[in-house]
């Protein structure tokens, strides 16, 4: 099947406006006849469900958490970008577009990125109107700060919990629609499969996490806003229940999965402390505004911080990238940290950490100012490590944080399956091979508030309305397969816990397909993953039954999907023999160890089609064209 990205014609500045006019509309009286399923209630899902409900559609919203407000978007700390140019420092829609395409290392679709930049201002307006308490200046106007990969201050923030405040805004809009009867909320309900009839997405199969009941929900369109797949690495900054199940199940039903190897390693996380650890904690990138990253100049220097004189410290980001300094993009900062640790200059007991030092900022601005900006992050650091970052530098190390890959979607955010829309982190389109800080929140809300309501309406208006009954053979078959799979999981009474197998998979992925990748390592992972998968299906233990609240069963289902998905991620990394953004192939680097892209051979999005578990997926390419931002070697020097 040919991939048609459906990018509208015309100059990039006019595409979205023109497209909005060209899109078909559903008349207000007819909207109530359509039922739309939205899975996931993070920034993308909640904003979409609320906006669609408000338009008059009947919306069914699903989340596995006990409340829509707990989706993992809440954990985003630093901020949200918008091209408001409130600072008069030279920002514009075009500059945000340019920075994002460049930051994504020329692997994103230009037209989508431009639209994202174009609607960014409206997002801030919307959130303020909802009562989101953004940081303000004394004059009462909104404050901004700068973030990695940008030379302007365009990031809006609400202390260190911007994601939570934006999500509460979207959640409050969603609750309003629930009260109005426009949205039916299904909390503690997990999507376990997609119902596809004759190539059209027609519904989902879910499990009620309290009673264990398997149910089918049918609709005129299905929207997935189910986030990313970082937890395939076991240790990541994602919430412990984040999973790939919804998108993976959709993939198994025919939706293409694009660029799974584009994973983002965040440079500022609290280092791993032991082998019982389950989860890594992120320290917001905004800390790099004031913190200086360094390691000792000498290899194996184990002296305490205070005994290392200024002249023997290597502020390696400032040294290597003088114009961006500590604010280089995430992929660049992460690889630089790995490099100094590989050289034996890492700090802390494991040698897998670098310092993030606030001494200069505290001396310059005073402790009170630093506390005002980052107080909650400093407290969190102290809780976890037992060390006081006002007195000694933080120790940080990169960790898996965000995934740029996801289900393939066209300009309308629809996958290759008609009626299946994918928004937020779950799709692949806007960040290319690397996402800039403070852009995830922007994309989630752009998709949900300002893109999907238009494009989904046009899809519905362009289709003949088809009623699928709950007794349709395809519906019954899909639900039966879900039951069968759960029964298979519950029959596992082996010797290893699911967590142990997940941890082993994660370590394998981190070592062979993490911050740096090479053919040998990838082939090793490729050989090992099917073995682990076999072991899971022979030797895992899944306690309890299906007809009850059973967290072990939920977890086993998610890990089973990771064990299939990991293979696709590795295949994608193997086939992309270039370095770009978060995907660093050691075979493809410059003399200065920077990522070397290969535009002649890899300037495309790789969209994979399912061919069966353990069988090589079929590759479809969407060639990327850069009419406006000409691909160049990305430089932050």
């Amino acid at each position: 099947m040919a991939l048609d990205s459906k990018i509208p014609s015309g100059p990039i500045q006019e595409k979205w406006e023109k497209h909005k006019f060209d899109l078909k509309l559903v008349n207000p009286a007819n909207k109530r006849k359509y039922r739309i399923i939205v899975v996931g209630t993070g920034l993308a899902g909640a904003s979409a469900a609320a906006s669609l409900g408000e338009l008059g559609y009947k919306v069914e919203a699903f989340c596995y958490q006990d409340s829509a407000r707990r989706a993992h978007s809440i954990a985003a700390q630093g901020g949200i970008n918008a091209a408001k140019n409130y600072q008069n420092d030279g920002d514009s829609v075009y500059r945000l577009f340019y920075d994002t395409v460049k930051g994504g290392d020329f692997r994103a679709r230009e037209a989508n990125v431009y639209r994202l930049a174009e609607v960014s201002g409206a997002i801030i307006d919307q959130c303020v109107a909802q009562g989101v308490p953004f940081a303000r200046e004394y004059g009462g106007l909104l404050a901004n700060r700068s973030f990695g990969g940008a030379q302007v201050s365009r990031t809006f923030y609400a202390r260190g919990q911007t994601g939570q405040q934006l999500l509460l805004g979207a959640y409050s809009a969603l609750m309003r629609q629930v009260a109005a009867g426009q949205v039916k909320m299904h909390a503690r309900t997990e999507m376990l499969d997609l119902v596809v009839v004759d190539g059209y997405a027609r519904g989902i199969v879910t499990r009620d996490l309290i009673t264990g009941k398997i149910e089918t929900h049918l609709a005129d369109a299905v929207v997935l806003g189910t986030g990313g797949y970082s937890n395939v690495y076991f240790l990541s900054t994602n919430a412990s229940n984040c999973n790939v199940t919804a998108t993976w199940r959709a993939y198994r039903r025919g939706a293409y999965f694009a660029n799974p190897c584009f994973t983002q390693i965040h440079p500022t996380c609290i280092p791993v402390h032991g082998d019982k650890q389950f989860k890594l904690t992120l320290m917001s990138e905004s800390l790099r505004n004031d913190g200086r990253v360094w390691v000792p100049k000498q290899k194996g220097d184990k002296r305490p911080v205070g005994q290392i004189p200024e002249g023997e410290r290597d502020y390696y980001l400032e040294r290597k990238y003088p114009s961006f300094g500590n604010l280089v993009p995430r992929d660049v900062a992460s690889r630089a940290a790995k490099q100094v640790c590989d050289e034996g200059r890492g700090v802390g007991s494991t040698g897998l950490a670098v310092y993030l030092d606030f001494a200069d900022a505290i001396a310059r601005d005073g402790e009170a100012v630093i506390r005002e900006k980052y107080g909650n992050l400093f407290d969190m650091y102290e809780n976890i490590t037992g060390e006081n970052p006002y007195k000694q530098p933080m120790r940080i190390f990169p960790a898996v944080h965000y995934t740029m890959g996801g289900l393939w979607v066209d300009y309308n955010l629809m996958s290759n399956l008609a009626g299946l829309f994918v928004i937020g982190e779950a799709n692949f389109s806007d960040h290319g091979a690397n996402r800039l800080g403070a852009s995830a929140l922007m994309q989630g809300l752009a998709d949900g508030y300002f893109v999907l309501p238009y494009t989904l309406s046009a899809y519905l208006a362009g289709q003949e309305k088809v009623e699928i009954g709950a007794d349709h053979p395809e519906v019954l078959k899909t639900a039966a397969e879900v039951r069968e799979r759960n029964a298979k999981l519950l029959a596992l009474k082996g010797k290893r816990t699911v967590l142990e197998i997940h941890r082993e998979l994660g370590l394998l992925m981190w070592n062979d397909c993490g911050m740096a990748r090479n053919e040998k390592g990838l082939n090793h992972a490729k050989a090992r993953i099917p073995e682990l998968r076999d072991e899971f299906w022979k030797n895992a233990i899944v306690p309890g039954s299906g007809e009850e609240f059973n967290q072990a069963l939920e977890y086993a289902g998610r890990v089973a999907d990771y064990l299939e998905f990991a293979e696709l991620l590795v295949d994608d990394a193997l086939h992309r023999k270039e370095s770009c953004g978060g995907h660093f192939r050691e075979e493809s680097q410059t003399g200065e160890h920077e990522a070397k892209r290969d535009d002649d051979n890899f300037s495309y999005a790789a969209a994979w089609e399912f061919a069966g578990v353990g069988k090589p997926a079929t590759l479809h390419k969407e060639e990327l064209e850069f009419e406006y931002v000409k691909p160049s070697q990305r430089s932050y020097k």
Partner: protein
């Protein structure tokens, strides 16, 4: 270190519950409290027993999912953090630790340490929002908000909806939760058009859910992982009085 854990086990909402004692060996001081429970669960699973159900997600102290009483205190003894941020270095070898679910009429137990907090969502549905349409809004800088008010609104908005205030209160009152929500909107001009209606509707909804009333003990503030101040309850009462006079 080795700890003795007394954990509330309950099969389902209607089943009787009881404390079961477990021993947790090999606990490292760097572990988080929930990682200690993970370790216990791994042992239980291997022994063919049912793991302890407990709620958790972000493990960064922000999602509000984790909800356990530790030695009688919501989220444990250390102030200003959630259970997931509590680290084992605060415990001593040989300690006995009692772990219970939130206890409140409005939060029925689902299983073991997991409770149903959907009552808080229903209180929000009664009025915890500003009725704006997507897109139909003025420029973000059109209405200045004094920094002081914005900061106070942010103090209130920091509520993560975990329900610790309810669990800690002898009346199982949700006044701190309500106070935080009502304050946030009362402090911002965007919340003003619905100011009167909102507070009446939300307080009524909370009463209907079975949350108790406030008797100014301030245990909620002490238990709140985001250290939300009881001054927000005072503002809630003022808002309620103001609304009652206008209604």
């Amino acid at each position: 270190m080795t700890l003795t854990l007394k954990i509330w086990r309950q099969k389902g909402p209607d089943a009787p519950g009881r404390f079961v004692t477990y021993e947790a060996g090999d606990v490292s001081p760097d572990m988080s409290f929930l990682e200690m429970l993970d370790m216990l669960n791994q042992d239980l699973i291997k022994k063919g027993e049912e793991p302890v159900a407990f709620e958790n997600d972000c493990r960064e102290g922000i999602c509000g999912a984790c909800s356990v009483m530790i030695n009688g205190q919501a989220h444990g003894s250390k102030r200003g953090i959630t259970a997931c941020q509590l680290h084992m270095r605060l415990f001593n070898n040989g300690d006995t630790v009692t772990i219970e679910p939130w206890r409140a009429k409005a939060f029925p137990v689902i299983k073991d340490l997991v409770v149903d907090r959907s009552a808080l969502d229903r209180v929000m549905q009664a009025g915890g929002f500003v009725s704006v349409r997507t897109g139909a809004v003025p420029d973000a800088n059109a209405v200045p908000v004094p920094k002081e008010n914005a900061d106070k609104a942010m103090d209130a908005a920091a509520c993560i909806g975990c329900g610790a205030c309810v669990a800690a209160c002898k009346n199982a009152s949700a006044m701190l939760f309500l106070g935080a929500k009502v304050s946030q909107y009362a402090l911002l001009p965007q919340g003003h058009p619905e100011r009167t209606r909102r507070v009446l509707a939300m307080v009524e909804a909370a009463d209907k859910e079975g949350f108790g009333n406030c008797t100014n003990t301030s245990e909620c503030e002490a238990a709140c992982p985001k250290e939300i101040s009881v001054t927000h309850i005072a503002r809630l009462n003022r808002e309620l009085l103001r609304a009652a006079l206008r209604a």
